[in-house]
């Protein structure tokens, strides 16, 4: 197994950190940071962490929305926040899925 790239825990921590900073800044930075964090994670991940890359986006946005409750956000505000981010979330899922497929294909070609 290749040792290049980030292990699963670094993938999860990195993407969460980037999205979290965006969440703290607020406004349009949140969806932008979610897309950036998750896509970067997909590019930088070790092949063994592909599962994390694909599964993490909904978990990350939910965790951050919940975390904003601790910063004084109202429950309804957090729900609205989470709801409005959906198009970006769906785009992120599609993007990371594509990146993973391409990387898998490239890896197979290289081995072949």
């Amino acid at each position: 197994m290749s040792t290049k790239g980030l292990p699963w825990w670094a993938v999860a921590a990195g993407a969460t950190a980037v999205a979290g900073v965006g969440g703290l800044v607020g406004g349009p930075y949140f969806p932008a940071a979610v897309v950036a964090g998750c896509v970067l994670a997909a590019i930088a991940a070790n092949r063994s962490a592909f599962f994390t890359v694909v599964a993490q986006p909904p978990l990350i946005v939910t965790a951050i929305a919940v975390a904003t409750l601790l910063f004084g956000q109202s429950f309804l505000g957090a729900v609205a926040q989470l709801s409005t981010v959906f198009p970006y979330l769906a785009a992120t899922m599609a993007a990371v899925g594509l990146i993973v497929l391409v990387r898998l294909r490239l890896g197979r070609n290289r081995r072949a």
């Binding site: 406004g27 978990l59 989470l82 409005t84 981010v85």
Partner: protein, 404 residues
């Protein structure tokens, strides 16, 4: 062994991820239903308020700290919020008469929510029969006619100028709402930041969507005018029964003032029901709540349903207290409007100023002023002291208060 564990962990993670994705998708769908179907009207006159938040923009940053004053209005409209007429069946169910062009605002409440979360919010009811100066030069009349007077005047003017019926109706309604806001501002001295109007039918639908609202009556009531037949004690009301509860005024010891207290108690109960765990976590209930809200309410155009709901949320718990403006005589004879409720605008304004000044302390003075009982046939004017409210005990949203 390790492999099994890993497989199990992955299954759990995938399931959670998919479930959250689905939940967020549902949230997005519901949010857009709420935003797209909402009826708004440009009723807050420009220059009157701060910078509006762009609607629908994702925001995590805390909103700018600003006190918010909302005018909540209940109208006995024979149409829904979209202007579609209600069916005869529904009208019969509501015990509403035929559409006669009259559109009185029978419930008016000013809600003030301080930006500082440690301070108390307050809601002040304005009795519909309050005899006040109506904005727009209409003279002194009952407060509940401010909307209809301006609307009818504007409608006649527009139709005479050849504006089409539908357009004229719409613009005249806006004029009516603006006039009511101007009248309330003049009466209370409070600048109105937001406006929310709810109609009869929508109101009953909302109570159905939340599965009923708990109320409590001191005495059993039998009123054939409103069709209110309720036993004493705690009960849960919804739909038409809920309407009867908030509309009854005949046969109550304090007449319209008792009805005002019922409305306060009911609103507190409704807000509690909406934000109780069982409502907002049940997708079916959320959907019917959003549908009923979009059919029932008209908000000012700088507002959206989520912000409205967030403000409504501050009406739950013990942070808010309900009052009624000080009134003098409940049976003031008037030349054109029958018997009205006498109010002194100066007294109302100082009452509101006092609430603004000391609403942070729940033990402030003047909270337990005894109401002046309605004295039939008494001719001398009894002026209540300014720091007395018309409520024996201000209604507090933390429990189900028993009312007359």
């Amino acid at each position: 062994m390790n492999k099994t564990l890993r497989w199990t962990a992955r299954t759990v993670v995938v399931t959670m991820s998919a479930a959250l994705f689905g939940a967020i998708a549902f949230g997005y769908y519901t949010y857009h239903r709420a935003v797209d179907n909402l009826v708004t009207d440009d009723v807050i006159v420009a220059g009157d308020q701060g910078v509006p938040m762009p609607p629908g923009s994702p925001t995590l940053a805390p909103r700018p700290a600003e006190d918010t004053t909302i005018l909540l209005v209940g109208v006995d409209s024979r149409t829904d919020a979209h202007g579609h007429p209600l069916s005869r069946e529904v009208l019969d169910e509501l015990r509403a008469g035929n559409a006669d062009g009259e559109q009185n605002t029978d419930t008016m409440m000013v809600v003030h929510i301080p930006a500082d979360p440690t301070k108390h919010a307050f809601a002040v009811s304005l009795p519909r029969d309050s005899y006040v100066d109506i904005a727009g030069g209409f003279g002194t009349h009952k407060l509940n006619s401010a909307y209809a007077r301006a609307k009818n005047a504007k409608l006649t003017e527009l139709l005479n100028n050849g504006v089409g019926q539908a357009d004229a109706e719409k613009q005249a309604t806006t004029a009516g709402r603006r006039n009511l806001i101007a009248t309330v501002t003049a009466l209370t001295g409070l600048r109105v930041d937001h406006y929310a109007e709810i109609n009869l039918y929508g109101f009953s639908e909302i109570t159905k969507a939340v599965g009923g609202v708990p109320v409590c009556l001191n005495e059993s009531v039998h009123d054939k005018y409103s069709g209110a037949y309720f036993p004493a004690g705690k009960q849960t009301l919804k739909g038409v029964d809920a309407l009867k509860f908030v509309r009854q005024r005949h046969g109550l010891p304090g007449g319209d003032l008792d009805r005002v207290r019922r409305q306060q108690a009911f609103l507190a109960g409704l807000a509690n029901r909406i934000f109780s765990a069982g409502t907002l976590t049940d997708p079916g209930k959320v959907t019917s709540l959003v549908d009923s809200l979009t059919n029932a309410v008209v908000l000012d155009k700088n507002w959206d349903l989520v912000s409205f709901a967030q403000q409504l949320q501050s009406l739950t718990g013990d942070r808010v207290r309900f009052f009624t403006i000080p009134t003098i005589r409940p049976d003031l004879p008037t030349p054109y409007d029958g018997s009205a409720v006498e109010v002194d605008p100066a007294q109302v304004r100082s009452f509101v100023q006092e609430l603004l000044a000391d609403h942070q302390s729940s033990t402030g003075s003047g909270r337990t002023g005894k109401p002046e009982p309605p004295k039939k046939g008494k001719s001398s004017v009894v002026v209540q002291r300014i720091n007395q409210t018309a409520d024996e005990h201000p209604i507090d949203a933390s429990e189900v208060p028993c009312v007359n």
